[in-house]
C-alpha cells in the first residue's frame, strides 16, 4: 500500500517512514506543498499524511487540490495546531482523521490501517490473524470460529496489537491509545497491565495461541513467532 507523507520536518518524516516501511507500506515523502501537489497529480495513494504548516504554504491547499481533482485519497492530518477551527476546516475540506503532534507512531499506524479499511472495504470489515477473526463493525471476536466475549477496551487493544504486530509497544503508548485525551492527565499506566492480563486470559480460554510477549523494561509485542 502506498502512502504519501507531507511533512517539513525531516527527522520526524524519517521516523514515520522507518516505522511504516517495515511491512505492508511504501511511504513516500514530500516536504513542501509544491512537491506534494506534484506527487498527488502523478500518483495514486491509499492514504496521505498531511502536516498543515509547511514552508511554502498551507496543508489546506493540498486538500483543496485533492477536491478539485476529484481524488478520494484518504487524508490524515498530522499537525501541531490543535484548535477546533483547524479541525473543522480540515474535516470540511475532506480530511478523514486528525492526529495532534506529538503522537505515538503506533497510534498513527492503527489510524492509517483503520482509514484504509474504511476506504477499501465498504461494509464487510474483518481482520484475520491466524485463528483470530475480528469483525470491526459488529465488534465481535471469534477464535477458531467460536465467539469470545471481549469488552470494548479489549477489542481495541487486540486491534492495536494486531495492527502493530512485531513492533514493541510501550505501556504509555498503549495507555494513550486506550484512554484517548484522558491519558494526558494520567501518571499511572498500570491499568494497561490489567487489560492485557484479561485479554490474554480470555484468549487462552478460547484456546488461542499466546501472541502477546512481554518485553523487559519496554512493554509488549504481538508476534507470531
Amino acid at each position: 500500500m502506498k502512502l504519501l507523507l507531507v511533512e517539513d520536518e525531516p527527522e520526524l518524516a524519517k521516523s514515520i517512514q522507518q516505522y511504516l516501511n517495515v511491512n505492508e507500506f511504501i511511504c513516500e515523502w514530500a516536504a513542501t506543498v509544491t512537491s506534494a501537489l506534484d506527487k498527488i497529480s502523478n500518483y495514486e495513494y491509499d492514504a496521505i499524511l498531511l502536516d498543515l504548516m509547511l514552508p511554502d504554504g498551507d496543508g489546506f491547499e493540498i486538500l483543496n487540490e485533492l477536491k478539485k481533482q476529484f481524488k478520494t485519497d484518504g487524508v490524515i492530518i498530522i499537525s501541531a495546531k490543535e484548535t477546533l477551527e483547524t479541525r473543522i476546516e480540515g474535516f470540511n475540506l475532506g480530511a478523514d482523521d486528525y492526529l495532534t503532534k506529538p503522537f505515538h507512531l503506533s497510534e498513527l499506524l492503527v489510524r492509517i490501517q483503520a482509514l484504509i479499511r474504511r476506504k477499501k472495504f465498504n461494509g464487510n470489515n474483518t481482520i484475520v490473524f491466524n485463528e483470530i477473526e475480528i469483525d470491526i463493525l459488529s465488534k465481535t471476536v471469534k477464535v477458531n470460529n467460536f465467539k469470545v466475549e471481549l469488552t470494548k477496551k479489549e477489542i481495541d487493544l487486540l486491534l492495536y496489537f494486531i495492527g502493530n504486530q512485531n513492533r514493541v509497544l510501550s505501556k504509555s503508548a498503549i495507555a494513550e491509545y486506550l484512554s484517548g485525551d484522558m491519558a494526558d492527565m494520567l501518571d499511572n499506566h498500570d491499568f494497561v497491565y490489567a487489560h492485557i492480563k484479561n485479554l490474554k486470559k480470555k484468549l487462552k480460554v478460547a484456546q488461542c495461541d499466546d501472541y502477546i510477549k512481554t518485553i523487559y523494561g519496554l512493554g509488549y509485542k504481538w508476534t507470531n513467532e
Binding site: 520536518e9 520526524l12 521516523s15 504509555s172 484522558m182 494520567l186 499511572n188 518485553i215 523494561g217 519496554l218
Partner: protein, 421 residues
C-alpha cells in the same frame, strides 16, 4: 472600618457644626438674657424718673393707700433704709398662678410731704423667660435648618464632584488583565481626574502589553516544543523496535519513556492553559454536569481500582450549567484524577453533586503546601513524579472563566474541593 470619601467630608462638617453649636448656644443665651435685663432695668429707671417728675409732685400722703390699691407693680412702701436706686431679683407669690414668680425690682427713696418712702417698681420676668425661650427656639431652628442645608448641599456637591472618580473606580474594579476588555473612562472636565484616568489608562495599557507578550511567549514556547517532542518520541519508539537491546539499555529506555510522557503532558497542559487564556473555548451549550460525570465514571473507576480506592457517589439532578463542555470535562476529570493521585492505598473518594455544588473529597495525608498557593502553576507539595503541577491551575482557570467559586479544605484526613457553579 474604612470610611467613604463623602462621609469623611460630611463628618468633618458635622463635628465643626456641633462644636459651633455648643459654644454659641450658651453664649447666645447669656447675651440675650443680659440685653433683656438691661432693657428691663432701663424701663424701671425711666419709669421711676417719669414718676418722680410727673406723678410725685401731685401725690399727697393720703393718696398712698389708694395708689397702692390700684397699682399692682408700682408700690409706695414704708421707708426701708435704702437710699440710692437699687435693682435686684426677687420673687412674689402669684395668687392667680398659685406659684412664686421671678421679678426684677427697683427700690428707690422718694419724699412725699416731707416723709421718706420707698418707691418699689417690679416687672414680672415670666414673660421675659417666655420670650427668651421663643428666641432660643428660633435660633435653634435656624441653626438646625442651616446645618441640614449644609449637609445636603455638601453631599450633593461632593457626589457631583467625585462622580468621575467613582466611575473610574468602578471601571478599575471590573478590569481583569486576562480578559480582553479595556476599561472605558468617561470624560471629565476636572484636571485631576483627567490626570488620574490618563495615568490608569497608560498603566493598564502597559501591563496588558506585558501580559499579552507573556501569554504569547508561553503559547509559542509550548507550540514550538511540539515538533521536537514528536521527533524525540518517534526516535524513541524506533529505538525500542531494535532486537539487540540489552537489559541495561531497556531500563534506560523505560526511564526515557517516562520522562518523555511527562514532557508531553506538561506541554499539552501548557497549551491548554494558553488556549483558555486566548478564549478558544467559546462554544457554549447548556448541559447537566451529572451526565458528564457519569460518562467519565468508568474511566475513573478503572483508575481508582489500581489503588483499591472505594468511590462513593451521590449525584442529584443539579442545576444545568451553561458553558463550554470540553472545559467542564477537563475540570471534573482533573479534580477526580487529583483525588486518585493524592489518595492512599485502600482509600476513599466521595463525589457529591447537588444544586449548585460539586464536592469531591478524598482520603490522604495532609499536604505541606499553603492552601492558597495550591492553585498556582507548578506549586507541588513534593517533587515526586505525581502530576505536573498544572492540573489544579487549569481547574482554577476554568472555574474563574465561568465565575465559579472553588475552595479547598482539609479536615478529618479528608481533602475536599468544592465548586459552586
Amino acid at each position: 472600618m474604612s470610611n467613604k470619601l463623602l462621609h469623611k467630608t460630611l463628618q468633618v462638617y458635622l463635628v465643626y457644626s456641633v462644636i459651633i453649636f455648643i459654644i454659641v448656644a450658651p453664649l447666645f443665651y447669656f447675651l440675650a438674657d443680659k440685653f433683656y435685663i438691661n432693657n428691663i432695668d432701663e424701663t424701671l429707671l425711666n419709669t421711676k424718673i417719669e414718676f418722680v417728675k410727673i406723678t410725685l409732685p401731685k401725690l399727697k400722703n393720703t393718696d398712698i393707700p389708694l395708689w397702692n390699691k390700684f397699682n399692682k407693680n408700682i408700690k409706695i412702701k414704708e421707708y426701708n433704709e435704702i437710699n440710692s436706686d437699687t435693682l435686684f431679683y426677687t420673687s412674689y407669690y402669684d395668687i392667680e398662678e398659685q406659684e412664686k414668680e421671678p421679678y426684677r425690682e427697683l427700690n428707690s427713696t422718694i419724699i412725699i410731704d416731707g416723709k421718706r418712702y420707698t418707691f418699689s417698681f417690679k416687672i414680672n420676668l415670666i414673660e421675659s423667660e417666655d420670650l427668651m425661650l421663643s428666641i432660643a427656639l428660633l435660633f435653634f431652628g435656624l441653626i438646625i435648618f442651616m446645618l441640614l442645608g449644609l449637609f445636603f448641599i455638601t453631599k450633593k456637591l461632593s457626589i457631583r464632584l467625585w462622580k468621575p472618580f467613582y466611575q473610574t473606580l468602578n471601571q478599575i474594579e471590573q478590569f481583569e488583565i486576562d480578559k480582553n476588555m479595556k476599561p472605558q473612562f468617561s470624560t471629565t472636565s476636572i484636571e485631576e481626574f483627567k490626570r488620574l484616568n490618563k495615568s490608569i489608562e497608560n498603566l493598564i495599557k502597559k501591563n496588558s502589553i506585558i501580559y499579552e507578550n507573556q501569554r504569547e511567549f508561553v503559547e509559542n514556547a509550548a507550540h514550538e516544543l511540539q515538533t521536537p517532542i514528536a521527533i524525540f518520541k518517534g526516535k524513541l519508539e524506533l529505538l525500542m523496535q531494535r532486537s539487540d537491546i540489552t537489559k541495561g539499555q531497556a531500563d534506560l529506555l523505560e526511564d526515557l519513556n517516562k520522562s518523555t510522557n511527562r514532557l508531553t503532558k506538561l506541554n499539552k497542559n501548557l497549551l491548554l492553559l494558553s488556549k483558555i487564556d486566548k478564549n478558544q473555548f467559546d462554544e457554549i451549550s447548556s448541559f447537566q454536569i451529572k451526565g458528564l460525570i457519569e460518562k467519565q465514571l468508568d474511566f475513573f473507576k478503572e483508575q481508582a481500582t489500581l489503588k483499591n480506592i472505594t468511590i462513593e457517589i451521590n449525584l442529584k439532578d443539579a442545576v444545568p450549567v451553561n458553558t463550554n463542555i470540553t472545559l467542564t470535562e477537563v475540570l471534573v476529570s482533573n479534580l477526580f484524577l487529583n483525588a486518585i493521585r493524592h489518595n492512599i492505598l485502600n482509600g476513599k473518594i466521595m463525589l457529591q453533586l447537588v444544586g449548585h455544588k460539586l464536592v469531591i473529597s478524598n482520603t490522604g495525608s495532609p499536604i505541606a503546601i499553603n492552601s492558597k498557593s495550591l492553585f498556582n502553576r507548578f506549586s507541588k507539595s513534593n517533587s515526586s513524579k505525581k502530576g505536573n503541577g498544572l492540573g489544579l491551575a487549569i481547574v482554577k482557570k476554568i472555574a474563574d472563566l465561568n465565575n465559579w467559586e472553588i475552595t479547598y479544605s482539609y479536615s478529618n484526613s479528608l481533602h475536599t474541593f468544592s465548586v459552586i457553579f
